[in-house]
Amino acid sequence: MEHTYKFLSRIGDDSLILGQRLAELCGHGPILEEDIALTNISLDLIGQATNIYTYAAQLEGKGRDADALAFLRLEHQYLNAILVEQPNGNFADTLVRQFFFDVYRKLLFEQLLTSTDKQIAAIAEKSLKETRYHLKHSSEWVIRLGDGTEQSKERAQFAILDLWRYTDELFYMDETEIQLAKAGVIPNLKDLKPLWMEQVLSVLNLATLTLPENQGFFGAGRQGRHSEHMGFLLAQLQYMQRVYPNMQW
């Protein structure tokens, strides 16, 4: 149960933090249609976070609810991959970050459909449909940015260079994942990586973009050690609940 709770925190926090980042873009997209698309994705992710946290809070059994998990933990208690807390940057940064994440999420949810934990399987089924749309959207954009103009290609290439180092953390496994994989609750995440690489490469090829060479991987968000961005992000996220504690909203 402890392991399941930890795993749920990890994927719940991924959803919340990425949803939060996308919400910052509301009203600032490059065209109205994209504003709608990106807020849609943000809304989906917040919804997924809510479902995941609700289950996690139940399992925890301490009488906390989804909001308590979302808003009242300390920085080192958030276990999202640090990929999702990276700032939005320009449109290429946003969409490349999204693309790397979406391929992973789709693979993960596809496997979780057959989880031995029925709740997780249900969450995965509900989320998978949305994730497929997100992936379609981000793939089409990576292709258009890569194979668009010289300028867009350059920006997309820079985005890949910046974000590539954070992608391996998506497949991080410690005792939690190892035990859950043994119990059939989750797939072996290391097995997902080659599939992820294959799908990422096929889109990057269409986009005429390349991967960085000899770049090391980095990230300990899964263990609660975040980038400097996280503090500021949490300051906004938690503001109301911290300044007006124990109230109904």
Partner: protein, 95 residues
């Protein structure tokens, strides 16, 4: 008018229980694939079982309005008189 303005597309939706596609409005998209995705986001909020048609507005031919005496040149035309539906020869930038 910049050359980067995305073309206009008309959107037609047939709902889950519907019998035919209804015109619901228009949107801007660079190509058919993006037009379809945008239409789904804007006009259906991604409901299931919905059929979507997207067509470039300039490619639709429309008949005269019923009140045909209003035109001294009755002829099939565009869905509406939009500045981008008519190709201007190169070199005419401001019209």
């Amino acid at each position: 008018m910049s050359t980067n303005e995305w073309p206009l597309w008309e959107v037609f939706i047939r709902s889950k229980q519907g019998l035919n596609h209804k015109h619901v409005g228009s949107l801007r998209a660079p190509d058919a694939e993006m037009a379809m995705q945008n239409a789904r986001d804007v006009y259906t909020r991604r409901s299931e079982g919905i059929s979507i048609w997207v067509v470039q507005s300039a490619l639709i031919t429309a008949s005269d309005p019923a009140d045909s005496e209003a035109y001294f040149e009755p002829s099939d035309s565009k869905v509406y008189r939009h500045p981008t539906f008519y190709d201007l020869p190169d070199g005419i930038e401001h019209m």
